[in-house]
């Protein structure tokens, strides 16, 4: 069975016709054409598919596309403020080498964005707790934590 789903992606109203069995992750990638959100484990363990739905981060693999009806979804494609401008987190990830193979990066960026939105000055422990549902097999996490702390400082400086 297919259903028409009307929802908002990165601030833009969208409509998609999806099979009711389909996950939000598959629908975003294959119906909407936003392939920034990655499919790692597809069972909610790795966090690569993290998107923000109505302000809360969730695993897009563990949500059905039909559940997105009327809701607002933010993906990594919506993170940068303009075509030629990166989000401070994206910029810091590049400078710190916080991304190696890059597969976990979109999920980690979305989780880090939510973390800094709620808590502009996170401690190391806050960052560890905030990213505990995101697995990275390349970096050893240290550079990711460095990048997030650096982005937090820059965002703080930009506000003051």
């Amino acid at each position: 069975m297919k259903k028409i789903v009307e929802f908002t992606v990165n601030g833009e109203p969208r409509e998609m016709t999806v099979d009711t069995c389909r996950s939000l992750l598959d629908a975003l990638r294959e119906e909407v054409g936003l392939t920034g959100t990655k499919k790692g484990c597809d069972v909610g363990d790795c966090g690569a598919c993290t998107v923000i739905v109505d302000g809360e981060p969730v695993n897009a693999c563990l949500m059905l596309a039909v559940e997105a009806e009327g809701r607002s979804v933010q993906t990594v494609e919506g993170l940068q403020p303009g075509v030629d401008r990166l989000h401070p987190l994206q910029d810091a990830f590049m400078r710190h080498g916080a991304s190696q193979c890059g597969f976990c990066t979109p999920g980690i960026l979305m989780m880090a964005k939510k973390l800094l939105d709620d808590n502009p000055n996170p401690t190391d422990e806050d960052i560890r707790f905030g990213l505990s549902g995101n697995i990275c097999r390349c970096t050893g996490y240290t550079k990711i934590f460095d990048a997030i702390k650096s982005a937090a400082r820059e965002m703080e400086a930009a506000r003051s």
Binding site: M1, V43, T50, V58, E67, G133
Partner: protein
């Protein structure tokens, strides 16, 4: 993904009717963090999914000093974890909620779903049993209330009859003289299923333990009460020697199995260690 039909229930009556009429292989869908994984990994045969998220009245959280804390079937683990009342009055529930899955999972998973899945290692069950929580069950003919300690009949099995739906949970009020703790033991802190989970809820009156409940997770077919250990502790000052004997008794009372996560012997040892530790932590409220 294996195919299934998706139904959106408008009312409890509607959901209950769908559960009865669509036959076996029909499952309620709230958070979906277990069900979708089970479908994808072919652990459960699912033909129909009944989404209950459009049913009104299942998202409420209420607290009053006589009735306690009540939350509906759609209340997520994350919402309760972040609630100041839970942080302040129910540190045991807070510990269980914050250790379940990941932040992303907790933003979808519901406590009622965690309970209805009836896993012996479910994190939310031991502290809720230790607190004396009960579940509200809807059926098309009546409503009934069942103590959580009597809700489970085996791994993955509950007293729910076909067409019955758990609408919410009530946890008795947290008294000022109560102490509560939940300790989860696993190989890592996040995204982990419990190897052993121990919950203790106790009441102290003038330095004497007037009541105590100990619930043991992942060491039996269902979450167990260590009732003989509890009996040894009631009426005592919870001195170190008594606590040690009671922890030894809890080791005798549990019935663990060996599996990929740990051996039965290790689990039994950890029940002893964690029971002592959980009592100590519950008492820190009064320090």
């Amino acid at each position: 993904m294996r195919r299934f039909d998706y139904h959106r229930a408008e009312t409890l009556e509607h959901a209950s009717r769908l559960l009865t009429e669509l036959g076996d292989d029909t499952f309620l869908f709230a958070g979906g963090t277990d069900l979708l994984v089970e479908i994808r990994e072919r652990l459960r045969r699912v033909r129909n999914v009944v989404d209950i998220k459009a049913i009104p009245g299942l998202s409420d959280i209420t607290y009053d000093e006589t009735r306690g804390l009540t939350f509906g079937a759609l209340v997520t683990v994350g919402r309760l974890e972040r609630l100041p009342l839970v942080r302040q009055r129910y540190p045991n529930l807070r510990a269980a909620f914050a250790s379940l899955g990941s932040i992303q999972v907790r933003n979808r998973a519901t406590v009622v779903g965690n309970i209805c899945r009836a896993s012996p290692s479910a994190d939310t069950i031991p502290p809720l049993i230790a607190d004396g929580a009960f579940v509200h069950i809807y059926s098309r003919t009546d409503m009934r209330v069942v103590p959580l300690s009597e809700f489970f009949t085996g791994p993955g099995r509950t007293v729910l009859a076909k067409g019955e739906i758990v609408t919410g949970i009530t946890v008795p009020p947290a008294a000022d003289n109560s102490g509560k703790a939940y300790l989860k033991h696993g190989r890592r802190k996040a995204m982990e299923l419990s190897t052993v989970g121990v919950a203790v809820s106790l009441l102290m009156e003038e330095g004497v333990c007037s009541d105590i409940r100990i619930a043991l997770g992942a060491v039996g077919a269902t979450v167990l009460r260590a009732s003989q250990a509890e009996a040894m502790l009631r009426g005592t000052a919870l001195d170190a020697a008594t606590v040690k004997s009671a922890a030894d008794k809890a080791m005798e009372e549990c019935t663990p199995i060996s599996n990929v996560r740990a051996s039965a012997d290790y689990r039994r040892d950890m029940v002893g260690v964690l029971t002592g530790r959980a009592i100590k932590q519950a008492l820190e409220t009064f320090a």
